[in-house]
Symmetry: C2
């Protein structure tokens, strides 16, 4: 679909995020299963629930725009998830794997932060205040998830992983 207007671009971006989130919904439970830190496991499980809410918000936006969600594949998220799966497959010391999986999840979160940031700005500039607010809400959730993962990494997880390697 050629991008002839900013409306086209916003829909393109929302479709991309929609597919990305649905892929993430499949991937996060796998990551939750692969980690050994209970806090991290819980963090991933809670993020699955949060992601379900984010998908619903996107569906709400599509309805407002009179468009059907779906039909686009997000290759970026495919690659990001593949990175996470590669780590799980490689194996290693459980504590080090936890740290590696956090890094993979943060890359996923950063993709979503970039995507929602763009979509929110596009909605703002189109004067779609309500849509911009919905997107901003998810953007904040993704940023919080990223910060939570940083805290987990800098705190307990990396310390244990350091010890594992000694």
């Amino acid at each position: 679909m050629p991008l002839n207007s900013m409306q086209d671009l916003m829909i393109h971006k929302l479709q991309d995020i929609y597919d990305a989130e649905n892929q993430a919904l499949q991937a996060y439970p796998q990551l939750a299963e692969a980690v050994s830190s209970p806090e991290l496991k819980q963090g991933f499980q809670q993020h699955v629930e949060q992601t379900q809410g984010q998908v619903q918000r996107l569906e709400q936006l599509f309805e407002q725009l009179g468009k059907k969600p779906g039909g686009q594949t997000c290759h970026a998220m495919k690659g990001l998830i593949q990175e996470g799966q590669k780590i799980v497959k490689e194996g290693g010391a459980p504590e080090v794997l936890d740290a590696a999986i956090i890094a993979a999840a943060q890359a996923i979160e950063h993709y979503e932060i970039a995507g929602y940031g763009t979509a929110r700005t596009l909605a703002q500039q189109a004067g779609m205040t309500e849509a911009a607010q919905l997107l901003e809400q998810t953007l904040e959730e993704e940023k919080n998830m990223d910060s939570r993962l940083t805290q987990l990494a800098e705190g307990n997880v990396n310390q244990k992983a350091q010890q594992a390697g000694q």
Copy 2:
């Protein structure tokens, strides 16, 4: 390669970023060619030069670690670049394409921000002060590139694209 220590993880992460940067070095000139805004074109061209410096910094780090760079494929960056190429292929109004390509480049930058953020934290925690500083330097450059792209999008580029759609 199984991840048995934090040193393994740091090398894994650096190899991932090294391949990602080398892929970006091929992709940015294509993006520069596809955009019509002169400031944006210049921004991408300057970022190619900056990326060359970042690759050299990584090579310096590998030397310090006594490792050879290369041999790992970053699937995430592959997917991210594919997203950018898909937009160029879809075509559309030049001003809207500029806005879309900015979004694709910001997704690339965010992947690098996440990657360097992880690598810098790993280096810090391993007491590798000099390596951490080198990684921090690149991290700041990537964050600045992301901010510059936001400024270009929120300023001139999106305004022109709004007009194109009317």
